[in-house]
Symmetry: D2
Subunit: 337 residues, 4 copies
């Protein structure tokens, strides 16, 4: 039994993570934190958890958290995470970090996109990127795993086969991404009020969304070539789900869809959470699951890749537990089917 | 042409009101206010109004507002309204007040439910209640009209025929009300975040919602007997619309549905915005309109009254313009069909 | 390992049931049926199941189904169910019937509400009603369990403590129920098109919904007195979830909320799926779970009971597995947390 | 006063059209059709119209329709439209055809995409395309106007300035389009059931949606060069609204956003329904209006054009009335603001 803590437990990702961990036979939740000094029971912070877990959210420092557990799921915002992760690691606990702080390898890129100096820059380049479908070899031994962004995972799982196998022009990629509103977090913002985003779709962060350099870096690393994508996120009136519609130019203009799908099937053989499907995937089918459904179509000269995940599960809490499973020697699918 | 101002123009009701007024041949919007010192153009405050109206939201006192217009639509929160209405009236402008401040006649009742002392108590009992279907005689000459609450109008229009005609037990009434989220306003509250209230329904304010004494008072006044309702509001995952499902005991247990509907048709004859229908009404049919659809069914011993409105239109901005029409001698339906 | 079949596998309840059974360590799905002669793979009928289960939906008769399994979840429509259940039972398999066919004990009542003659009437009165919170003693030994209706469970779990303990007037009950659209099934009907029911709420079946006699009978049986409720269902724009707002008159007008909640906590002690909460429950908190959240408020003279479930889980597929657990000696919560 | 008929009045577009026409001072609705032999009142076909219009839907042939009106809005499906339009025109009435039958000029292209032979092919090339922002000169005198498709208008209004002014590579265009569900019509299809498309987004018709050749042809004609777009439509869980996110390569890689927006403002000067905005447009702001909001961003090397409409208004019924206004000498905005 691994004793786990959730550092930062008031958001939607933390709720999802706790739900999954409560089903996990090898994890025991021993600490939950929030900055609220009143130590509210988790069942009040998230009424969905009423009666499920008799713990309070405590305002704990990293040493206190480390003293209570073997592994920490760090669900803090970026910048807050790098303020506690070094101490957690030095205290001997392992960390799955769900923030952006350790996803990029280059501090300069981090600072360009996040507008804050990285205070643990030296650790960035040697942190394992927690996308098991690409980096499962490094995850089991890692002390720190950087859990991917939700748009990032969904984009990468859609595009990796084409890029790794060098079948498309790495400079031709457009990712048009659509996300449910939970991806915007639980903070109070006018733009995420129900009456603002219901019955509406709009783009946001065009040209400057912070998942862009992460997609670039991971696809470049995985494929051994420079990949730079045009990435446009949209807010869709639904709770959860991401659909990435990605466009790229195949190197072989005559490549047909069946061959592309064969490539995908081979690439993801043995990966339990990527389903290469023939129909056009919809987010509903992966909602509340750790699956990524993906397919490809030709449209005139382009390949159109369609990939879907639940942003809170495969895009955050689910893949965090998938990483936990790899780190602790459980079957990859434990608590995730 | 009547010059009108909207006092408090950042909320959803104000947006709806401006939209309707822009279609009104007899109204010219000459001032808009907010407490924002930066004087934002209204097209930035409400992007839906981009290019429609070249005015800024200004932080104006009541004398300044009065100097620019003939009539003010006061769309401030309760308590804020009674701080400016006396000055507006003394400055010679007429007022349609969309807050709760002048809806009740008894200051003590106001203070019990709103937890604030009424600073213009003397004016309360002589203010005209702006529900045209019941009080159209008094509205044309009024200087101050108290625009009804959204739940209130919808409940009252459903129940008034039965109570005014004394066909049901006035102590038997349960109003189970369901509202879209825009009714909760544009303020930043956890409970109105998209990811909190989407895919969910819940009751709120059980036993203590502030529209309760308003429903009681208006139905009591209109029917000449003491009416006290059990009122339970619910939040429904949709932008707009109210459905009130009201239960009451008929005095004649053998009264049949056809006779009830006849009573309703006679009661609302000549009222252009109440549609007595035979089907079960749905909020979608009245969304973006000033209509109230109503029908009645028997269920075992009870009468079940179903009444629907758009909370922002017939429940707020639309009836405000309906009152404006009556006050300024326009046909009641101008700009509202 | 129990070999189970799902008889009628194309609807939403069947999808949910298969999802839960795939997590169950003691169940193996060995047959799925539909009337489609083309034997589609279940992953095409429900794309959410792509890659999860390598079975086809076959058009099988009851003997064929019985030959392949030990227990059948019968997810057929009413009337279709009673056409196969006798043969299934005679073939020696046990049945959890999710239709309405065996829920009522009196064939005449069935025929009045369902407008069809019952062809297995003799079995009705001796069938065990599968609401484990009230009838867990009889379920383990039953060969046929009648799985409750979704509105029924939610209403009954809200009202049972008050009626069984004889604390309210059994003739005073109004149940105002609100359901997500999945409750209306997967058939093609104008009223369940997205553009008809999105952004809308309406009542339906006022005074004649078929769950009414079921609520009456179960509450009457459980409480030893004649209960007759006024039941009004509404369609809410969300996928899943039921909220029942039930009104009744307490016998003791001075009974306070804290005492009522104490009664509920005692009544449901040891029942793992009923959570007596202090906050007003919302359907979101029980969505995708087998929980029923319930609380009570006083509003003027009335008690207002608020109870919530997921109509597809605790209202159908989840309680079916809960019954399966009791029937097969598994812990009641297996595969359901 | 122009007497108008709506040919095919049971769908969502017809409902929207009737609503707008009821506000039009120069139009009188004199006939409504459907194939239903029972002649239902329009207030039953569309309960939203209860009490608004005392007409029945009649099963009328084109001569009968022509005998009752001066102008027909033909809201039939494709193929059905070309079966009646010739007779209508020969009978001396003018036609705004909302189907696809007269939008394309080449019968072979029509047959390729619609899989049906065109029975009035000769008229195709000389029909005026009813997009007033591009073809307002030809519309006033036309007897037959082909009302554009909803995706088409939204795509074209976004891209036309760049292509007509020859500022982008006409072969570089990707249109990633998102639509509310009303765009899929009121027919009974599994894919448009609420519980199928709520809480979900998916692409459909990738590479083969019928609005593709229409976008190609209109943009090619307007810009005098061959334009061929990659077009991918998506279904979004909302009633109405289209957002087109269009990607293209600018000829001048240093062109900045401000200059692009200036070009757009000049291009649409004097066009009352296109709003060139600086913020990222959202469909909510144009819902229930005839506006198209558009803006442009640079993202790495690409221009990203964002254009929004209400698919039922500017995408169908609203532009039909805009065309009607031009054809009958009314101000372009009559009944549309």
């Amino acid at each position: 039994m691994t004793r786990v803590a959730v550092y930062g437990s008031t958001g939607y990702t933390a709720l999802e993570l706790i739900r999954i961990l409560l089903r996990h036979p090898g994890a025991e939740i021993t600490a939950l934190t929030s900055r609220n000094e009143e130590r509210p029971p988790i069942g009040e912070v998230h009424t969905a958890l009423a009666g499920r877990l008799d713990l309070r959210c405590e305002n704990l420092g990293p040493e206190e958290v480390a003293a209570r557990c073997d592994l920490v799921f760090c669900a803090l915002p970026h910048a807050a995470s790098m303020a506690v992760v070094p101490t957690l690691l030095e205290s001997g606990v392992r960390v799955v970090d769900l923030s952006a702080d350790y996803r990029l390898s280059d501090p300069a890129v981090y600072e360009t996109w996040y507008h804050v100096e990285h205070t643990d820059a030296e650790r960035m380049a040697r942190t394992v990127y927690g996308l098991p479908e690409l980096f499962c070899d490094a995850i089991p031994e890692a002390d720190l795993v950087a859990n991917p962004g939700c748009y990032t995972s969904t984009s990468i799982l859609g595009l990796a086969p084409l890029l790794v196998e060098k079948r498309v022009d790495p400079r031709s990629i457009v990712v048009d991404a659509k996300s449910g509103v939970s991806g915007a977090g639980r903070g109070l913002k006018l733009g995420t009020l129900y009456a603002e985003c219901n019955e509406s779709i709009s783009a946001y962060g065009v040209g400057n969304h912070r998942h862009t350099p992460e997609i670039d870096e991971v696809l470049s690393t995985a494929s051994g070539q420079t990949v730079e994508v045009v990435f446009t996120p949209h807010l869709v009136p639904m709770d959860r789900g991401i659909l990435c519609t990605s466009y790229c130019d195949p190197l072989d203009p005559n490549w047909d869809e069946a061959e592309v799908l064969d490539l995908y099937r081979r690439f993801y053989e043995g990966k339990p959470f990527v389903r290469v499907v023939e129909h056009l995937p919809r987010t509903k089918d992966v909602a509340h699951t750790n699956f990524c459904d993906v397919t490809v179509r030709r449209s005139r000269g382009k390949l159109v890749v369609l990939s879907t995940t639940d942003n809170l599960v495969k895009g955050a809490a689910g893949v965090a537990v998938q990483n936990f499973n790899l780190m602790t020697g459980h079957p990859e699918t434990t608590a995730l089917l």
